[in-house]
Amino acid sequence: MTTFTIPDFTLPQVLKRLGPRLPQLPPTLVLVGALNAAMSKRLGNLLPRDLLEPMIGKRVTIRVLDAGMTLRFAYGERGFRPSFETTPADLTMSARSRDFLALLLREEDPDTLFFSRRLLMEGDTDLGLLVKNTLDGIDLPRLDPAQLVARLSPAELLNRFVARLAQRAVPHH
């Protein structure tokens, strides 16, 4: 079992109030960039594209409750991208930052968090199961964690996203 356990914490109340007033795009770009990177060949197709097929055209909202953050993104043929629609997404997942972190590091089981009411999943449950089970099915130990961290750094991801935007903006001949 892992020796390090994420302590139980809630971000200060002020962030919850401040969060919604801050731009949500930068953290969304980081998230979207990380997801796209995980699908790339460079990272060994960590996120299997074929399994995500049912997600095409779907919008997902992640609400980080104690940070007052609402990250909206969508999945399409070209991968993940930020979404600017404010109508309810196909799937909305809400939890505190601590619990999202614990899920990401596989320290907590989503059902455990659900039973203790620390994780709420609203909308298309089947889509939620697909997301959860696909993430659980990723065999992480194959990767060199140091390499992964370097490739998933926010700066690197933002760079790549900007590069992709630029690429799309210029018509190819």
Binding site: M1, T2, L51, P54, S94, R106, E107, E108, D109, P110, D111, T112, F114, F115, S116, R117, L120, M121, E122, G123, D124, T125, D126, L127, G128, L129, L130, V131, K132, N133, T134, D136, G137, I138, D139, L140, P141
Partner: protein, 335 residues
């Protein structure tokens, strides 16, 4: 006391399988990505590549892999189940866990060296039934439905040469495994034939000012106040209005935990303890496998002085469904 008590742990995917093996599981049970097993959920389970790697990983570490093919084929899709038996055999798995008699007959004839386990979905609760499966199909292990008291489990064990596996930990259901029609009634999807109880497409959660509502195919089945522990979105664990009173009219969401019975389970000759939860994540598998490995080892060293550690119970309660844990049908002092 007979052979060593085995720990059988769930794996919904390759990381869970590896985690179970790393934390001391003797056997890991898994399924394919379709309706041939009773945990047919979106994104869960194994394709051929993952299973090949899983079998190798387990075998390299002296653990075994069991494949659950424990749903019931229909006339129109029979070949999907027989193909699944062939696939499992081809991967060199250590046993298949079957419920359907026809499929058992197929497996026994086509793969005479493949070890057969009778699934809990087969609902065999008496030794006559289990012995029949042995005589007819050569099954070597039976998983008992969670309806028997400990005395009844002992009576079964004394009257059959078939190894007996029982559920030791995890979510409970209404105890008519393989025959339950509740979810099918509400959703039109049969858990017994299509492998999904409360399939995701039929489940909706919604946070309302009154609390979190759970709906199954539009039917309100429960409402949880803020802070109240929640359960799985199954009809059997819903709260319903009966005679002007709203309560768990069928059963309460609660988890089975038999750790305190370990000395007794060993004494009566239970061969294997099964941990429920292929739908759970690798984190759950790690937590539960580790506790049960420690408990079984501790009991095997000194059954007379065995006592569950408070830390084990706290760890297990944390991952449990509902408010509490129970000894289920095993403990029935009023019998």
């Amino acid at each position: 006391m007979s052979a060593k008590l085995e720990l059988v742990c769930p794996a919904g995917g390759l990381p869970a399988l590896k985690t179970a093996v790393d934390h001391g599981a003797d056997c890991v049970y898994a399924g394919f990505r379709d309706e041939t097993n009773a945990r047919n959920f979106n994104g869960l389970n194994f394709d051929d590549k993952a299973l090949a790697e899983g079998v190798k990983y387990a075998h390299d570490r002296s653990a075994r892999v069991l494949i659950a093919l424990n749903t019931f084929p229909q006339a129109s899709n029979w070949s999907r189940w027989t193909a699944a038996v062939d696939r499992a055999a081809g991967h060199g798995v250590d046993a298949v866990i079957l419920a359907d008699m026809g499929l058992m007959d197929y497996a026994a004839n086509k793969h005479p060296n493949l070890r057969l386990h009778l699934s809990v979905q087969g609902s065999a609760t008496n030794y006559e039934a289990i012995n029949f499966y042995r005589e007819r199909f050569g099954i070597q292990r039976a998983v008992l439905p969670r309806v028997l008291s400990l005395a009844q489990v002992e009576q079964v064990i004394q009257n059959t040469p078939v190894e007996i596996e029982i559920f030791g930990f995890g979510g409970l259901c209404v105890m008519v495994e393989g025959r339950c029609a509740l979810s099918a009634y509400a959703t039109g999807t049969s858990p017994n034939c299509q492998g999904a109880c409360s399939p995701g497409k039929s489940v909706r959660w919604e946070q309302t000012p009154q609390g979190m509502e759970t709906r199954l195919n539009g039917i309100l089945i429960d409402k949880f106040a803020d802070g109240e522990r929640a359960g799985y979105p199954t009809l059997c664990k819903g709260r319903f209005e009966v005679d002007d009173e709203t309560y768990y009219a069928i059963e309460e969401p609660t988890s089975l935990n038999t750790i305190e019975m370990l000395p007794e389970l060993m004494r009566i000759g239970v061969r294997a303890i099964k941990i429920e939860g292929r739908q759970r994540s690798p984190a759950y598998v790690a937590q539960v496998t580790q506790v049960w490995r420690e408990a079984i080892d501790s009991c095997q060293r000194d059954a007379a002085h065995f006592a569950p550690k408070a830390g084990w119970m706290a760890e297990l309660n944390k991952v449990s469904e509902g408010q509490s844990h129970t000894l289920g049908a095993y403990y029935r002092p009023w019998k």
